[in-house]
Amino acid sequence: MTETILKVDNVSKAFGALRACDRVSLDLRLGEIHALIGPNGAGKSTLIKQIAGNLRPDSGRIEFLGRDVAALDTVERARMGLGRSFQISAVIAEFTVLQNVVLAVQGARGTSFHFLRGALSDRAVTEAARLQIERAHLGGREAVRASDLAHGERRRLELAMALALRPKAFLLDEPMAGMGADGVAEMTGLLDGLRHEAPILLVEHDMDAVFALADRISVLDYGQIIASGTVDEIRAHPEVRRAYLGEEDAA
């Protein structure tokens, strides 16, 4: 048995009458990419937010590294090792690439409460940041402000920030959203190499990327997991083809 890093067990969340997550169960195991797919409004981001601690589930249980995280907030879960990227790019716009990643390194090391030394003059910190910048293929862009980056670069900056946390699991919400074909290919290559560093729960709409990357896929529809399995199982699943892959594949 491979080790389970993250376990979502029977989690439900309603917004008024809308059941955004309805008894969702899934797990994330060491070394894998587990893709979570489903149409818009299926509840994918809502699930990610509950795992990250931004939303509290109405019922159910979330375990990370074998521990029930119900009592922990976003900050504590991040410190435990949840590295997260947002569906809508969330980087510090006025900061440069280097400052953004240094912020993440500081967070990981817990060294933010220093008032007089320079944030960018600590070699150990900036070296750690530059390493992740290189890995996210942003080498040479350190001094560019995040607001001046191209869309795809900003998404990779988010990834660099998540990497800098040295997380035990990645939660990536549509890291390829809005990217062109080249960007998707580049990000696919990056994520492919990451799974051995920490498993990835990947929400993604780009099916080529999902089929290329995923070890397992879960399909969410109207808040419910309607199928879960390997790439081949999901491709062949009749309900999935009807509900999600739709006409496109039937043709």
Partner: protein, 327 residues
């Protein structure tokens, strides 16, 4: 050297040149006026930590300014009337010794900022502005209605407090003292802005959720910044009391809070020398326009409007352009 550095150096030099000229020309009033600008700039440097770096729109910084002022006034009052500040359980005497007064001012202002910050930082936006204003007004009315220290009439410091090796009654020497303190505060503010803490605080202003996801708690950053901010403004209050040799509840009024905020907006929010440029301009306008018309504040209002509408970076932003991030 960047444009902003040059501009800052010019402002720093100008602030020395004016009183030195006034000293040689025998114009002590101009020295006092410049000293006032320097002290108010210091109050602004304090607020700039919360407002500029932290994005915390405190409309109640008069509280710390006034507490610093009252710390100076009350300690001097007990020293000059030879009555102890407290006699039970142990005796605490007043003092005319500035370093002790400053220490007390900074601690009192810092503690007040800790309590007020801990309560008001649970809110944000307009609520934060209102709650900080409310705390400021509470202290204002408390000072007015507390007769022991002059109530509405305030407290007079008969002779300016003392600093070893200096004759603080000499305007140019008192100016030099205030100028050095402003310089130290600016040095701190500069280092602070570039420190790991400054980085995290500025990040939390722009995107608090992002800061949480890297494992840093915005509330702790903000509260710490708020306390440091209050301490610096409190120190300015103690100097202001000594400048005027007088403390009154007006130091605690919301108008004072507004003025400190105006310095920052005029000078450039978050810019190192923003509060200095803003306070200097404000005092210059008060001096020149105040002599011409009683409605000089209307001009300040119009200027403020122009800055907010057309020159968001204030004086520093307009003259020096966008801040350089790093190379």
């Amino acid at each position: 050297m960047g444009r902003e550095t040059l501009l800052n150096a010019a402002i720093a030099l100008g602030l020395v040149a004016v009183p030195v000229w006034a000293h040689l020309a025998g114009e002590p009033f101009i020295i006092t006026l410049t000293t006032k600008a320097v002290i108010l700039a210091l109050a602004g440097v304090g607020l700039n930590i919360a407002l500029g770096h932290g994005g915390l729109i405190s409309f109640g910084h008069a509280a710390y300014f006034g507490l610093g002022g009252y710390a100076a006034g009350i300690l001097a009052h007990h020293a000059q009337t030879f009555t102890p500040l407290m006699s039970a359980p142990f005796i605490i005497e007043g003092t005319k010794f500035m370093p002790v007064i400053w220490l007390v001012a900074v601690i009192v202002a810092g503690l007040a900022a800790l309590v007020i910050g801990a309560l008001s930082l649970r809110t944000s936006g307009v609520y934060f502005i209102m709650i900080t204003l409310a705390f400021g007004q509470m202290l204002f009315f408390f000072a007015i209605s507390w007769p022991a220290y002059g109530g509405e009439d305030g407290l007079v410091i008969y002779v300016r407090n003392e600093f070893p090796g200096l004759n603080t009654l000499d305007p140019i020497q008192f100016f030099a003292l205030c100028y050095v303190i402003l310089g130290l505060a600016l040095w701190f503010s500069h280092r602070f802005g570039r420190s790991p803490f400054g980085l995290a605080l500025n990040a939390a202003r722009q995107n608090a959720e992002r800061v949480q996801t890297v494992g840093i708690r915005p509330f702790r950053l903000r509260l710490t910044a708020f306390v440091i901010s209050g301490m610096i403004t409190g120190l300015a209050g103690a100097l202001f009391a000594d400048l005027n040799r007088f403390v009154s509840p007006s130091m605690l009024s919301w108008q004072t809070s507004g003025e400190i905020m105006i310095f920052i907006i005029l000078g450039g929010v978050g810019r190192l020398y923003g509060p200095v440029a803003g306070a200097a301009l404000f005092i210059a306008l008060e001096h020149f326009l105040g002599g011409v018309s009683d409605y000089w504040l209307v001009f300040v209002g119009a200027l403020l409007l122009l800055v907010v509408l057309f020159a968001r970076g204030g004086i520093i932003g307009t003259l020096a352009g966008r801040e350089v991030a790093h190379d």
